[in-house]
Amino acid sequence: MLNRIFGLETEYGLLIHEDRPDHSPTWFAHKIRDHLFHVQRRGVLDLHHRGHDEPPGNGGFLTNAGRIYLDMGHLEYASPECHSLTDVVASDRAGDLLLQRAIDELGFSDRVSLIKNNIDHETDATFGSHENFLVSRRFPFSRHGMAPLITFLVTRQIFTGSGRVGSASLQDAWIQMDRLLVPPSTFGVRHGKDLPFQISQRADYIVNDFFEWVQHNRAIVNTRDEPLADPNQYRRIHLLLGDSNMAEYATALKLGTTGLVLQLIEEGHAPQDLEIDEPVEALQEISQDQERRWSVQLQSRKTMSALDIQERFLDCALQHCKGQDEETDWVLAQWASVLQDLRGDYQKLIGRVDWASKLWLLECFRESEHLDWGDPMLKSLDLEYHNLNHTKGLYYGLLEEGRVPRLTADALIRIAMEEAPKNTRAYGRSALVKHLLSGWAPIDAGQPTNSGGLFPPYVINWSIFQVRGRPPFPMPDPFRTYLEEVRTHLESVIA
């Protein structure tokens, strides 16, 4: 779709079902990762330092060409490079299933749950769902050029948000420490608003419009210039304001609509008169608006609703993108449908929009049990919506009842656990990982190799790899599979 490469990175939470657990979530994360690589042999662990926080053995590439690793103590899965929404949805779900199956095989299912969300209610911790979109190097990566993108991103949460009970500490209560803004919870203080429910998990944690860092000072648009491809041709738009979605439909609509808006910006067709006056505040106000009027103040002093703003983007996309391919037309049709339904009863969105599904479940339970919004049970149900254990998770309960539209199938997800998309660079990388797995015994990344030389047997990164004894093999174009070249290169290693 869209002549675009998509990718998702998901950090997972681990919920331990014990009052006095013997082990921390990070201990379980290590066990799960080790099971995936050492027992199930799903991929090859890194043997080199990828960065100061990624020592050898911290994670590795999988046969599906994605990655599983530990990041700040969290299990994280990065999907392979995908050229279609169908593939990215299947690859994203494949990551969920890889991790859940490891938990099941380890016999941890009763002790620990994998939670695909972005917050905890107790400490104000947050962890991300990052979106990646490949664009041309000529993309107007400036405040002015990206003003329409900011407006779109601030308002898209009305159909991409996963919803949460309560709120995090107020943004203006954050404390300046050198160049960092840190939440008061760092010092054991909470200043959260007394909100029953809001539509976004991440909105409370976004404190900048543009910034280069990914922890603290999170921005609507992350400005780190790391294309993971030929930097003369490409730029990677890296977004960290979005929520992890349980609904396949929401995942596809989030990536699809954002991809279309990036196209409108690239082609000079994005609406230019919708610049938001205070985008960071608007992001939080929309999320927290209990009346769901979602009003936004523009720099022109005009007030518009997030729905009307989204309609303007949709109109532009219909005018300039309709008919270019099947997935684009699906996105346009579903975008229109969701916006129309958002003007009515939110219950029409159940199964498609995560915050709507969650709110409906919570309201049903509240009504049945006569609970008010302050009851701690609602926070626990909030978490349970994101539980990846199919027999427990509330999202999977909705799915079981036939209330959730699917964009992929279980069989395709199982394939995506092992196979890469066949039309991107991931395909060539997958061949490399499978070759390494078939030819070598598992290597303990924590131990020095005794086969001579300082260079490890292999080094794999997103855009280049090297196998010992051979020159580096660059893969700068994510749209190429490099399959034949990779095979030839590996044959010469064997020879």
């Binding site: 002549n3 969290h74 922890q215 082609e267 270019q324 626990s380 909030d382 309960g397 995506a416």
Partner: protein, 64 residues
């Protein structure tokens, strides 16, 4: 391709990952959910099984 700014690719995509039979049609792909008066019994049963204290236990490290 309608992009004017993305350079032409040097390689045409080959067979993509197999897709669901009818990804965009009724029956095989996205459908509007039935939102009339659903049977909530099984969902209520799931929700009643949830440990009320689990949110207190869920303390994560801040990530990215």
């Amino acid at each position: 391709m309608r992009h004017s700014t993305i350079p032409e690719r040097r390689e045409r995509p080959v067979d993509p990952m197999p897709k669901s039979p009818h990804p965009l049609e009724e029956g095989g792909g996205p459908r509007r959910p039935e939102t009339g008066s659903p049977d909530k019994d099984s969902l209520m049963k799931r929700m009643r099984k949830v440990d009320p204290k689990q949110a207190e236990r869920y303390r994560q490290r801040t990530g990215e």
